[in-house]
Symmetry: C3
Subunit: 341 residues, 3 copies
């Protein structure tokens, strides 16, 4: 594809007179003359000078950074342009529809048109799978699940019985959806398991990362809203509700019965207590420990999580403690000197 064609495709402006043929995309420090590279982040501007790429896709706001002789395709949003180009250079391989002969389907399984079921997948009785959905190799789907149109379940994921997944959602390999919640009552002989009889309902356009676990409700359902994106190795407890378009980064843990608002963002490894509420639009920093409800949008961080500005101020003062101690000593010496006069 010529640089000029790429510029037209992404609505960018090709600067420079050259119009090289470009075969693929590559990162700025690995690109050769056959590659289009990109600069979306000022942190990587220092790589510009040595870049060997055939051309560079660059954000309008970064064009003043560093010098480069490369032909430039200037766009407003590099990531959006990358999305378009990646879909063009690396189209997702289309799995041919069809039910692999080794798939085991329970009684009453209802498959829409153009469904794909991979080898050794096991689909429980009464499950309904929408048109164009894909179920990967060795996936296990429990009884009476409902998968919407064009849902993709990658290899080796598990849906426990009764899970519902909205259209176009993607479940990555090893995710466990609808596993038992963690609920017990103490008895004289030890902890007694409370049956986990609720459901697990995922909205449309959800993505669930590899090896993430989402427990079913105990009574009532665990609910994940539309457009929610969840990264790898996240834990979501029973009866949690996550609002639409919320983003949860890897290794976050959310304890049972907590309600997360819409368009919330949670950084990696954050931990959220049970039975609390996080309001719409809140931003939780990585590794934060949220112990009580958050009712005002804003950025929260630290342990226990507080408004990020307070966390920063406290940290700065904590770092100054050695100096404060010295000043206190000086004051004490002065006073004791004066007293003795």
């Amino acid at each position: 594809m010529k640089a000029s064609e790429i510029a037209a495709l992404v609505g960018g402006i090709l600067e420079g007179t050259a119009d090289p043929e470009l075969l693929d995309l590559a990162p700025i420090d690995r690109a050769g003359p056959e590659h289009l590279t990109f600069l979306a982040d000022a942190r990587y501007a220092s790589y510009l000078e040595q870049a060997q790429a055939g051309a560079i896709l660059i954000s309008e706001s970064l064009t003043a950074r560093g010098g480069t002789q490369l032909p430039r395709i200037v766009v407003q949003d590099v990531h959006r342009a990358l999305g378009v180009l990646l879909a063009r250079f690396h189209p997702e391989p289309e799995a041919p529809p069809g039910i692999h002969p080794t798939a085991v389907l329970g009684t009453g399984v209802d498959l829409g048109p153009d469904v794909r079921i991979g080898p050794y997948a096991v689909i429980g009785a009464g499950t309904v799978i929408g048109a164009r959905a894909q179920v990967g190799a060795n996936v296990v789907v429990g009884e009476n699940c409902r998968l919407g149109e064009a849902v993709v379940v990658h290899a080796q994921a598990t849906l426990y019985r009764g899970v519902r997944i909205g259209a176009r959602s993607i479940i990555h390999s090893g995710a466990r959806i609808g596993s038992d919640g963690f609920g017990y009552t103490p008895t004289e002989t030890g902890l007694q398991k409370i049956p986990q009889a609720g459901g697990c309902i995922l909205g449309e356009d959800v993505e669930i990362g590899a090896n993430t676990t989402i427990d079913r409700g105990s009574v009532g359902a665990t609910e994940i809203g539309n457009g929610v994106k969840i990264d790898n190795l996240v834990h979501i407890g029973h009866n949690v509700r996550v609002g639409d378009h919320t983003v949860i980064v890897a290794q976050v843990g959310i304890s049972g019965s907590t309600r997360i608002g819409r368009r919330v963002q949670m950084g990696g490894q954050a931990g959220i207590n049970g039975h609390i509420e996080i309001c719409d639009g809140a931003v939780i920093a990585g590794q934060a420990g949220v112990f009580s409800s958050i009712t005002e949008p804003g950025v929260y961080s630290g342990w226990p999580a507080r408004p990020h500005k307070e966390t920063l101020r406290t940290q700065a003062l904590t770092a100054r403690l050695p100096g404060l101690l010295q000043r206190l000593r000086a004051v004490e010496r002065k006073l004791s000197g004066e007293s003795s006069e």
Copy 2:
């Protein structure tokens, strides 16, 4: 089921003159007239007024909270009553016993009566499986394992060779039991793997959450006591020993050779150093970092973990640092003013 029948079943007292027919349980903000809802936690008392349920199961200690016109079933322990009712309204579906024809059994596998083995399960040579045990779809069990009576291994879990699991224990989907510990010795050319030749022994009535990993011992065994409950995505290193009835919440990590006492409780995402001991009955708060042995029962929190009261006091004082700095400045000004007089 009538409200009066439910009250009799859970040993509660039905208050009010109505005796509605109830079809299922539902959370307080989702329940309709056909549902029994419940109030076990004062945090949800504010939902009482708008509750649309047919009746409410309520803790004796909460009956004074808020007003409701709903018929009430008053009990001492709502969670225990819920356990009874969930088992009644939602009995666990009984998988019919039998060995699916696609299961692959190694030589010398010994199956007790009424065992169930799901499709595409693979059972290694010499493994012994007790009466009424259930092995889910696509589970892989290594050679020479021993599963007690009525053990349940959910879909896609893995037991490495030689793992032993006591009666009635439950292993959730994707758990890895008996994986290699993380042990190496440095050499001139890099790290050399130390063979992980030990065992992995789980007691009776244990529950292991989805995608949790428990490493086998290097020399000797990793041991999980009776009645231990472990949540999702927990990591337990090689040669760890966990005492009876200990509870470990999601995403906790325990490093190698550490010994955890009986009836210990660990909050989510806590991290426990290797080669230390945690005494019986200790309570470790979520996200705590435990670097050295804990020898006194009590609540521990923070990084590094200390008695929770100390952590709280230090936090409170840290939050007061801006004020302390101002006071120090005032003192300094006063002193320098006095000196200059």
Copy 3:
């Protein structure tokens, strides 16, 4: 094996006149007269007196610790000696080569000599598997992967399409290699997935723990160097590069595009921000939160991570805050008393 033979095998010195026959290794508190036990760590020296073992393997540096009547085999490095002995007492069971008849191989799969493929494994079209490699039961390998000589992929692991793994590397059960990275661009209707079209390349002699996830690159590859050892439940984001011989303990999370140097050590549950660099030889303590690049070798800890000495000093001063507050109050009282005189 006689104690004298063991001493010869590990290059140690047998002290004492007895030369017992030893059948296996066992930990110091579980060993009987038929066992060789070991002492590599001073923390366990207190177990010496009651040890019931037939003989003890002991580090030269610990021979002065405690009294024992047991025959002793003195070596410089107990762990290295253990490695030799474990391989002798517990040789890894050799899986017989061969392709299980239930394995599903796509078109053009290329298998080297003496490869072992377990039951229900699914290998994508165009994948190349080197000599003596082992692919466990229920493993799913995507299209066009490359596995080097003697690679071991344990049961139920998943390789997404196009993954490359160097010779002798070990992938544990449930690991997901080459899963989609977490990348989206905001649009009016919600987040739009950015295609994750890059690769995932692991070097030689790598070990990846159970249920660990390594995302493929978006553009370009995620790269794990030679000799890297990664524990269980670790998350590695897209386009991360990890240098040779780096060690990453359980539950660490590394965000996208970060570059980790050679021989770095990361303690359990540490979190590393995206788009930063960690220099060769850095040591990151457990649970540390690394938000910005580390350019000097050394030990880093805390949140946010700082040089460990600074973290310790600040912690010590924070613990002294109650005393500092009292001293400040005393100064204030004194001053106000003096003023009023």
